[in-house]
Structures are given as structure tokens and as C-alpha cells.
Symmetry: C2
Subunit: 276 residues, 2 copies
């Protein structure tokens, strides 16, 4: 099949490499809006051909939207004239708001997917062919899709080595919030805690593995993450509140010198790793 | 020289391996209080000989305390009869409270050190010979030490490939708080946020790199970390308050749909990585 990819940053560029590597696509077409990105994509050889949107819509059996979540919704009007046989897959980190906004006329051919993978890097140069291998992809509300489209999505995601999990969009948005959106809010906050100190440089001179791990995702793209926080606002706010209660708890235990309780609380945190 | 190590978990076991690897020690002696640990240490061959405390004190040129921070202070009375030529080095994560509690009669021979390295693992089996290589060790308040002891500490830490940073204990405790103690409090809190959810298993099924990194140090030893939080109480509480303000900030920006401000705040967080 021919696969058209819209957006060739970390996620789109990596899927372009993966579908080539596993010979899933006969041709991989790309569409990018920025001229500078176009040049980079061509130099890196991520796709067989860069096209304008109309040509890509006409020649692709599957179109993959690998752009920020707000941009996905903004593009919908441009797919209203697409063939019924073309599958559209989005890779956005939020699912409920996107699904609510899919025009009814393309709903059956629109597959809502979220690959649970990524790095803190972005842009075409960040693309790596093993990004998806062995990772989980969540597909949401498939009962609304026609089988031919579901099958094409399965062929691609299984073909690049992913574990497929099917889930309701509402549940996905809660789970993804705890596993990804809340951790990003925390990591950005930790980075800004340190950057707000009068002398961040001499503090960071002592950074070791723990801090590096905790602040890694604070390097993530502000454009992408602003949209995700916006679209998953409700879940994010309630998860922050649950997390804040835990921070208040540790503060209270230390303030009150309640170290027996503190140790029990740490033992409970340890237990996460029995199921992780 | 002969090096005696008290406590042969991750830190002590790894330094035992490192001083052997780089031929810094002629003999490495070990002292452990628990019988079960003793057996493990011998099976792993971490030291040349396990000794009782009196023998270790007599035969070591340098004694390294690689035990939890409260245990370090509890041991001080047992060093009052030690030779003036024996260097004592502690590897604790807090420095001010330990230094305040060093008996005056051994102050000149007591080197307060904090190697900024570790993993989330603990116990003799966690010991690895490259734990210290290329990492930073902070030495505090060296003006109180005699040169022969400072020189021995330098020989050991440089010899195992560490970068030495000299710092006042007060500053160390603030810096270590931001780089290590606060991140641990956050990671434990994030783990307990998820473990407190009604269905942690199905949430964790979607865990990817971001969450794994953010929760890794929540696996750390509760015994060790309770003591660290206790000894660095004042700095920990104020750093948690600074961090909580950042969490409140992200909550307020999302609540008020102030996404321009949110993006700026994320861009500021990104800038950490220009100096990290």
C-alpha cells in the first residue's frame, strides 16, 4: 500500500522509516507545511516523495496525521472530499476531543490511535526507525470504524512491531494523563523550580542520574504540549490535584517528624515497581 | 593503603570494587552488621576480608562509612579511640547535620563526602565497579581537615575517576536537595498518585519512557531516604514549597485557558537543558 504522512517530525519521520524498514509501504509520501522542514526531510531521505496535500490525498491508501493535536482538528475540513477507501489515522496524545471533532462523513474511515512512545526530541532529525518497536499503541472507539480501515491500521501497527491495546477514548485520556501528561507537567515544574533559583548553574553542576531522568521530558516541545494540556484539561487538572495531595502528605509527615509514616509511604511507592 | 569499608550495599560495595579495579587499595576490609549481608558480600567477593569493627579500625588506613545518614552519626562514639593517622570518610547524602555531630576529637581526620551517583537499587548485589566513574563527588568544609587526610581522600576519589567539587556543607545541602532530595520526594509522590488510583494495573499497562524515568527513583530504599529527608528537613520543606508553586502555576494557567503563558513557561523549562 501507499502511505502518506502529514508531519515528519519525531513521530511522523519515525513511522516513515519503520514502514519502509518492514516493507509495509510500497511508497511513502510526505506532506509538510514549512519549507525549511521540507528540505530537511528530503536531505534525510525520510520519504519517497514530498507532495502537496491534494496529490497526497489522491495517491495514499492510508494517511497518517503526525502533527500536534490542535493541528489535527484544524485539518479535518480538508479531508471532507477524500475517497471512502482511504484510511486516516491520527497519532495524537489525546483521543476524546479529537474523536468528538471528526466530521461525521469521514468518521468510519478515521482511526484514533496513540502510540505510547516518544523521546524528548522533536523534528525530522529526531526520527529513528526503532521508535515504535515493542511499544504499545492504543486504538480508541473502533466500533465506529469500518473493518477495512481497522484492518489497515492493524497491518501497519503490528507490522512495525507494536502491541495493540483497544480502549474507550474516555479511559485512554485518563490513563494517558497519569502515564504521560501529568509526568510532563511535573517535569516542566521541576525544571522551572531549578531555573527559578538564584544560581541554577552551580546547582545543576551537581546533577546526577535521578535529576537527569526527572527533568528529561521537560525538554519536550512547548507547541505540542500546550495543545495536549488544552485538550486533556479536565483530566490533567484532577490528576494534578491528586498529585498535590501526595506532595502535601510528604511535607506534613516531614514537618511533623512522622518518620514511621513516611517510611510506610515510601514502601507503598516502592510497590509500583512490582507491577511496572 | 588498606581501606576498610563499613556497609557494603550499593555505595560501599561499588567503592570496594572500584578501589580494587584501580589498584588503589592493597587490601579491602569490610564490616557489615547483618549476618545475611555478610554471607552475600563474601559470595560476591566484594572485599578481601570481613572483620569485626575493632580489627577493621586497627588495620585500615582509611575507613569509609557507606551506611544510611542516621547510622553514620550513631557510629561516631565507636571512633573516639581511633589512631590519628586513620582517615574516616563518610558518603552520606546530607552533610551539615553530619558535620555538626562529628566529635571534636576526630574532626580533623573526618572527611565529609557526597558522591553524586547511585541507582534505584540497593544491597551488595547492586554493587557495580563503574558507579563512580566520571561522576562528581562533593567534599565539604575541608578547612577543618588535616592535609594528610584530605590527600588520602583525593587519592581515592580521583583514583576511581571522580570529579572533585569542594563546597560549604550548607550550600551542599541546598544543592543536593534540588538535584536529588526534592526529585526523590516528587518521584515517590508520583508513584503513590498512581498506586492510589482505583485501577493502577491497567493504567501502568500504558507506561512508556516518560513515566518509567519519572518513577524510577521511587524504587529507592525507604530506610535510607527517610533518614535523608529527616536530616535535610529544612531545605526539603522549602524546596517542596517552591515546587508546589510551579504546580499551582501550571494548574492556574490551564484552568484559565492561558495557553500563551503556558507555552512561555514550558519554553523556560526547556532552557534547563542548555546548562544541563
Amino acid at each position: 500500500m501507499n502511505i502518506g504522512i502529514i508531519g515528519l517530525g519525531l513521530m511522523g519521520g519515525s513511522i516513515a522509516k519503520a514502514v519502509k524498514k518492514y516493507s509495509i509501504a510500497k511508497n511513502v509520501y510526505g506532506y509538510v507545511s514549512r519549507e525549511s522542514t521540507k528540505k530537511e526531510v528530503l536531505e534525510l531521505g525520510l520519504v519517497d516523495e514530498i507532495m502537496d496535500l491534494d496529490a497526497l490525498k489522491e495517491q495514499s491508501d492510508v494517511i497518517i496525521l503526525a502533527i500536534p493535536v490542535d493541528a489535527i482538528i484544524e485539518m479535518f475540513p480538508q479531508f471532507l472530499d477524500i475517497s471512502k477507501n482511504t484510511t486516516i489515522i491520527d497519532l495524537g496524545s489525546t483521543k476524546e476531543f479529537i474523536i468528538e471533532n471528526v466530521p461525521e462523513s469521514i468518521r468510519e474511515q478515521f482511526i484514533a490511535a496513540h502510540p505510547m512512545t516518544g523521546t524528548e526530541k522533536s523534528g525530522p532529525k529526531a526520527a529513528i526507525d526503532e521508535l515504535y518497536e515493542g511499544k504499545t499503541v492504543v486504538l480508541c472507539n473502533l466500533e465506529k470504524n469500518e473493518n477495512i480501515h481497522v484492518n489497515k491500521a492493524f497491518r501497519i501497527f503490528q507490522g512495525i512491531g507494536m502491541r495493540i491495546v483497544v480502549m474507550d477514548a474516555k479511559d485512554h485520556d485518563i490513563h494517558a494523563c497519569y502515564m504521560s501528561h501529568l509526568p510532563h507537567a511535573i517535569s516542566f515544574s521541576l525544571a522551572n523550580t531549578v531555573m527559578g533559583h538564584e544560581d541554577p548553574k552551580s546547582i545543576i553542576a551537581l546533577a546526577a542520574g535521578g535529576f537527569k531522568d526527572m527533568s528529561r521530558i521537560a525538554k519536550s516541545s512547548p507547541d505540542m504540549w500546550t495543545d495536549i494540556f488544552k485538550q486533556n484539561k479536565k483530566n490533567l487538572l484532577s490528576s494534578i490535584e491528586v498529585f498535590e495531595k501526595q506532595m502535601q502528605m510528604v511535607k506534613t509527615m516531614v514537618e511533623n517528624d512522622d518518620y514511621e509514616q513516611l517510611k510506610k509511604w515510601m514502601i507503598k511507592a516502592n510497590s509500583l515497581h512490582e507491577i511496572l
